[in-house]
Symmetry: C2
Amino acid sequence: MTGQVRTVDGRVAGRRGQETRQKLLDCLREMLSTSPYRDVKVIDVARMAGTSPATFYQYFPDVEGAVLEIAEEMAKDSDTLKELVAGKSWAGKSGPTTSEELVDGFLAFWRKNDAILRVVTLGAAEGDKRFFKIRMTVLNSVAKPLAEAVKELQAKGQADKSLDPNAVSGALVSLLASAAEHQKAFTSWGVKVKDLKPNLAPLVYLGVTGKKAPK
Amino acid sequence: MTGQVRTVDGRVAGRRGQETRQKLLDCLREMLSTSPYRDVKVIDVARMAGTSPATFYQYFPDVEGAVLEIAEEMAKDSDTLKELVAGKSWAGKSGPTTSEELVDGFLAFWRKNDAILRVVTLGAAEGDKRFFKIRMTVLNSVAKPLAEAVKELQAKGQADKSLDPNAVSGALVSLLASAAEHQKAFTSWGVKVKDLKPNLAPLVYLGVTGKKAPK
DNA sequence: AACTTGTCCTGTCATGCCGTCAGCTTACCG
DNA sequence: CGGTAAGCTGACGGCATGACAGGACAAGTT
């Protein structure tokens, strides 16, 4: 499945080559978290990795190509987010707990992959299909099981049937993504970061079940 | 208040100069809506405006400087969003209407200023204070009056008092911004653009009042 | 050890954009 | 008509990009 790692000119990379390649990826990741995407230059990444720009171009077609690689790695990692929703109960007292754990887990994941997600989000917004697909993979890891949960609740008559489960789940996931991405905005509204979870969780619960959280 | 328009080297711009300057801004705006921000080059903007790169640098310190100008213009325009919330009623049957008009107006504004808002959002996410401030101006035009509305409802006992009005209003505005920014994501979840409003509006109503919308 | 083979890295070069400056052209005014 | 300030651009040094050829290196073979 995982095809061999290849250089741009088609050679198969060996042990040493893969190390160099990996170091370049690591340095790029580091770079992205400390300076604006627009200002990331191949020469800086190469210098940081103790190699030359020419070497960079052996392994990646350009900066964007390397960024995509990092993003795909993260997208795979996002699979673990599924478990925040799949098989969880929204009934009774466990509902609010499920909601809280979802908010918490999602925010943590976004915080962890802050820099790369920013670039992915921009690329997606600008209409780049590859970045869009990666972003959807991440969001879907939560949105899909969440839509299922809403459908189930609707079937049991425990949620408003006039709403589209996909729209509701999509909106809630968007909310989480947006909140995660712009935590600073909340700070400037006088909402402390630690107060984010207790305020978002009821909204998610409200959105999924359509009713106020029980005490 | 509106000080004279000046060139980078301090001269006062006359009629002809202001025209050139404006043409450059218009071309940059056009450029931003058709190609990724990362790829916008001074030389392309200048060429499109039928002038030379050197002229661009007479009026703007760099591309970012010009982008900021466009963004500030848009931020001023966002003042009109206030009226989507200020003085509106959330009680009885008018509540859902208020909610729908808010969603509609907000999405329309975002759609209209799509390209520049994308750049502003990225800049803000990357920690640039100037872009952050502009983004807050836009969001606050809705968030402030919305928080007031929540406070009023809480005072009248018509909303859950355990929630922070600023957090609730912030979360809802974030939701709207995120939905506006990534309308394509909803499409890929099988939610049509025209179905966005009827699905977001109940969520906003739910968030503000804490209860299900009346029939 | 000498040789061979295939991987890996870099020096160098042409190209193109950036950002600046001196200096030319244009417009306005007395 | 001449002076002055605004307006514009050609040209240049600097730097990132991306292609290439050739040298360095590791590992196996004789």
